[in-house]
């Protein structure tokens, strides 16, 4: 299946349009989204066994077949979803593809579009600048989508300067979402020098939230393809390093590999759904992967996060 390149989608004028293109591109001709609203639908029959509630016995079947069958229903409650976007300075990096921040905004926007379209309650938390906390309460109204997309568009269009760490933002979110457990979707590069971001995500998971992480990285950050004497300036601090990139490529790649494996292992061990996303990956592919994973989650009690980008 061919998808539009992130660069191509980025050329669309508004985020609302981009979100729509992404979602419809991903869903057209594929399958129905497995995320459901608050309704009770019959799923299947199951032979009665000891311990089952009597009220669920299908008396009609009993009358016809003289056998006890239990009616099973698919629980479809109204989902509360918290979208969390990392807008710290480290997300400002722009490589040969889309910038990390812009990519994450589009991805979160598409998810918002999808979720609101299913009448789920969707909230948004954009962290990065501790002095300018951007937060939208979860709502299921259709016009709430505009609010969310407007917030995302604002972040997407202007570079961010904050250095708020993910852990503090998530702690704040945990406080806000303490009354209602829900799905927390985080898009971040996890570049923070204080604390261990996967561990903080693990805390949310421990509180009963379903946590999905889109570990958003640029291809340059994976491959380190730079050549020639370069001064690397930190995006979040004042550090400058004059270095010959070719000569440290191996060390860098080893360290990066270790970092990625650490994040993935931490997420696996804590039941966090982990998606490694590279900015040159089509949005539809990422979205479909996510939806397929969610379908697996809905059909099975075990949740197995997995990486996608390499």
């Amino acid at each position: 299946m061919a998808f539009l390149a992130p660069i191509a989608i980025a050329k669309l004028e508004t985020l609302a349009l981009r979100a729509k293109v992404i979602v419809e591109g991903a869903l057209t001709g594929s399958h129905r989204a497995k995320l459901r609203g608050s309704s009770v639908e019959f799923a299947e029959h199951k032979e009665y066994s000891q311990g089952d509630e009597i009220r669920h016995v299908d008396w009609k079947v009993l009358g016809k077949a003289d056998r006890y069958y239990i009616k099973q229903f698919e629980q479809e409650s109204e989902l509360t979803c918290y979208l969390v976007l990392d807008a710290s300075a480290s997300m400002n990096y722009v490589g040969r593809s889309l910038g990390k921040r812009e990519y994450a905004c589009n991805l979160i926007g598409a998810l918002a579009y999808l979720l609101v379209g299913q009448r789920d309650r969707v909230g948004l938390s954009i962290f990065g600048d501790a002095r300018n906390v951007r937060w939208a309460q979860p709502k299921a109204k259709a016009d709430h989508l505009r609010t969310l997309l407007a917030m995302l568009e604002e972040v997407s269009d202007s570079p961010q300067v904050g250095d708020e760490v993910l852990s503090s933002a998530l702690e704040r979110l945990a406080e806000l979402a303490r009354k209602r457990r829900g799905l927390i979707i985080v898009a971040s590069d996890l570049f923070e020098t204080e604390g261990d971001a996967p561990s903080v995500l693990g805390h949310l998971r421990a509180r009963g939230h379903d946590v999905v992480l889109f570990h958003t990285l640029d291809r340059d950050e994976l491959d380190f393809p730079f050549e020639g004497l370069s001064i690397f300036e930190s995006l979040e601090g004042d550090g400058r390093l004059l270095v010959d990139p070719a000569s440290i490529r191996r060390i860098y790649q080893e360290k990066m590999k270790g970092f990625l494996e650490h994040c993935e292992q931490q997420c696996l061990s804590q039941g966090i759904e982990y998606h490694r996303v590279c900015t040159d990956q089509p949005f539809e592919e990422v979205l479909l992967g996510f939806l397929a994973e969610r379908a697996g989650v809905a059909g099975s009690s075990s949740q197995r996060p997995r990486g996608q980008a390499t």
Binding site: N92, D189, L229, S230, I231, F232, L241, L242, I251, Y252
Partner: protein, 701 residues
């Protein structure tokens, strides 16, 4: 520290180059905003610190390299007080006399005196300057016998100055130096003696002209040089250990100021046969005796005595060639042969001359009777014993007489076959003294002490009796009951009675006849007239008598020469070439005019101590070894005396020329060591850069 080219110090500003390059490199580097590198590497404090330290170190090294290069180009030097002689630079004539004798091979702190002197000579050439006319002479007669400004050539002469085994002749070298300086046109003239001031190198009475300065530059600062030497070596035969026995006497001298123990080893041929040691007080000489026995059949020995290693090796060894005593060929003429051995006239004689019939008795015995004496060649024998022989025919007597005159030794003993009158008439030339009549003390008497004679007066200093003690019990106890009385005679010159009986009658008479010797025993050599044969003195008496008659008491050692001397080589009648092989396998040849028509030729060119083997080549081309002509060349025995003398009386300043300036200080160039530092810095910089490339951390902000 000073600089010959101080302007080059401006190059120190080159230290700014690495900083400029560093800054320029920073400016050209592209800036990449990047979060991951800072996140991954910036948190590693160790990397950051190591990076910073390495970069600062690298920059410092590069700045230092630039600065050191500039300093080297400025040619830094320092000055120090010169410990050598005050030497004036400028136009002058100077003669350097270097001791290259074997004594200069003395090792002091791992360096020989010669090499020290050569180093000093090289420094002197520098100090004298290029305008000086210099000659280099050696104490052994070599060198460059002309004044020259070709200092390069002079250096080559110095570098090629060999160690010589000749004796140092400091007086001759000084005379040659004076002759050279006499012809020089310079106002300033100097002689530099680069010698250890010993008796050999410095003349006791030498006075240089007033305008010539003399300096002695001893390669040794010590007051005395410890040295042991073998200064003499003599060899003689030692009959007490057999006919092939040798007695070797080595003289060992301690020329040092401390008592020492000299460890000696005696080598005969290629084998060390004895070792010994001698304790020597300071400046004392002692003899050390060795005894050695040659192998059977070996009559010539190449002997060397060697000291343990000391600072001067050349005088630790001395060579000598010796011949063992020749065997004496004796013809026994038996006048009373018997079938029963112990009744035979010569039974006891043979037993005494070849005790145990041993091959090393030194005697070769042949037997004859008066009847078969005629066909024998008498010249084959050294000694003939006529024992109780009847009167011989006149022809045989004449032949025997001529043989004695030519050098033979004849012993005549008495017996029943001897008729005094007929002996006097026919065999007079063979008798040391005329016979008178036989005296038989037992005729008509019973055997009693009164009827016997005993020896009473012996010439103990004579070689025949020299081996006996004063009382000679082995001889004095012998009984003689029948003797031949001798008549007065004046016909034989050089007659000497060596032993008498207690009645005053002569018992043993010796007389010289031409080159030979006659001896007359007035009794028998068996037990018919006496019982001397069964007394212990009989054996040494007879052996000494034979040795004395044979005129081969001891074989003298072959000739010994000193290195540098000439050697006379005897030339045989048919020799067309004489070849001499030296100790170092070098060969010298005497032929043509040098030997034609000569009985002896002079061999020069003995430069190395050791053993020289001579062989001759006759007209047919046959080579014949001549062991009797083998000779040993040794060093002068005084060579090892390194007692240092005062030089004050010899040293003097010459008249100084105008404009002369003494240079008490010496300049020391420093750029060599600074260049070494530069190389070290470059090496360190390369290593650091290599490590930086491997880790990739080149420069830090």
């Amino acid at each position: 520290m000073s600089f010959l080219s101080p302007l080059m110090l401006l190059g120190l500003l080159g230290a700014m180059i690495p900083i400029a390059i560093h800054l320029q490199g920073r400016r050209k580097a592209k800036v990449v905003p990047f979060a991951a590198l800072d996140f991954l590497l910036g948190t590693d404090k160790r990397i950051a610190k190591r990076l910073m330290f390495r970069q600062v170190l690298l920059l410092a090294f590069r700045m230092l390299i630039c600065m050191v290069a500039a300093i080297i180009l400025a040619r830094p030097y320092t000055s120090c007080r010169s410990l050598g002689p005050k030497v004036a630079q400028g136009p002058q004539a100077a003669v350097l006399i270097i001791d290259n004798s074997a004594a200069a091979g003395y090792e002091l702190d791992g360096q020989t005196l010669l090499s020290r002197s050569l180093e000093s000579a090289s420094q002197l050439l520098v100090q004298l300057g290029p305008e000086a006319d210099v000659a280099v002479l050696t104490t052994t007669g070599g060198g460059k016998e002309e004044l020259s400004r070709d200092h390069l050539g002079l250096r080559e002469t110095l570098n090629s100055t060999p160690l010589s085994y000749r004796k140092a002749r400091g007086d001759q070298a000084l005379q040659r130096a004076l002759a050279l300086l006499a012809g020089a046109g310079h106002e300033r003239k100097s002689i530099f003696l680069l010698v250890a001031p010993t008796e050999a190198t410095l003349p006791t009475a030498f006075e240089a002209p007033a305008d010539i300065g003399v300096r002695v530059l001893s390669p040794s600062k010590k007051a005395s040089l410890e040295n042991l030497a073998v200064t003499d070596l003599e060899v003689s035969t030692d009959t007490s250990i057999g006919s092939r026995g040798l007695r070797i006497t080595a003289r060992v001298s301690n020329f040092g100021d401390t008592a020492q123990v000299a460890h000696l080893s005696l080598r005969v041929g290629d084998e060390i046969v004895a070792r010994g040691e001698v304790s020597l007080a300071p400046h004392e000489s002692k003899n050390k005796r060795f005894s050695a026995s040659l192998s059977e059949g070996v009559r010539t020995a190449e002997i060397q005595v060697e000291l343990q290693d000391d600072a001067l090796e050349a005088d630790n060894i001395r060579y000598v060639v010796a011949n063992a005593r020749d065997e004496v060929s004796v013809l026994l003429v038996n006048g009373d042969a018997r079938a029963v051995r112990h009744e035979d006239e010569l039974y006891y004689v043979e037993a005494a001359l070849r005790p145990g019939d041993r091959s090393d008795s030194g005697t070769i015995i042949a037997r004859a009777t008066p009847e078969n004496l005629g066909p024998l060649t008498l010249s084959d024998y050294d000694v003939i014993i006529l024992a109780n022989v009847p009167v011989l025919p006149g022809a045989q007597v004449r032949a025997l007489s001529e043989w004695v005159l030519a050098g033979g030794g004849l012993l005549v003993s008495m017996g029943d076959s001897v008729d005094a009158d007929r002996y006097n008439r026919s065999m007079g030339p063979l008798l040391a003294q005329e016979l008178r009549s036989a005296l038989d003390l037992r005729r008509g008497r019973k055997r009693s002490p009164q009827a016997e004679l005993r020896l009473s007066k012996l010439e103990l200093e004579h070689p025949v009796f020299s081996v006996f003690a004063k009382d000679a019990p082995g001889l004095y106890s012998a009984s003689f009951w029948q003797v031949m009385l001798l008549g007065p005679t004046t016909s034989v010159k050089n007659r000497r009675v060596l032993a008498r009986f207690d009645n005053g009658a002569a018992a043993l008479v010796e007389a010289r006849q031409g080159k030979g010797t006659l001896m007359l025993l007035s009794s028998t050599l068996d037990r018919d007239w006496n019982n001397l044969a069964i007394h212990p003195g009989f054996l040494p008496f007879l052996q000494q008598s034979v040795r004395h008659l044979a005129s081969k008491p001891l074989q003298r050692a072959n000739q010994q020469v000193l290195v540098g001397d000439y050697v006379p080589i005897d030339i045989g009648a048919g020799d067309v070439r004489i070849e001499i092989a030296g100790p170092g396998r070098e060969r010298m040849v005497l032929e043509g005019d040098k030997i034609e028509g000569h009985k002896s030729a002079r061999l020069d060119g003995i430069e190395v101590p050791g053993l020289y083997h001579v062989s001759s080549v006759d007209g047919s081309g046959a080579i014949k070894a001549r062991p009797e002509a083998t000779f040993a060349a040794n060093l002068d025995p005084t060579l090892g005396d390194l007692t240092l003398k005062a030089t004050n009386s010899l040293e003097r300043d010459g008249t100084r020329g105008e404009g002369e300036q003494a240079t008490p200080s010496r300049r020391i160039e420093l750029w060599h060591s600074i260049a070494a530092l530069l190389l070290l810095l470059l090496l360190l910089e390369s290593c650091l850069s290599l490590v930086g490339r491997r880790t990739g951390l080149v420069r830090d902000s």
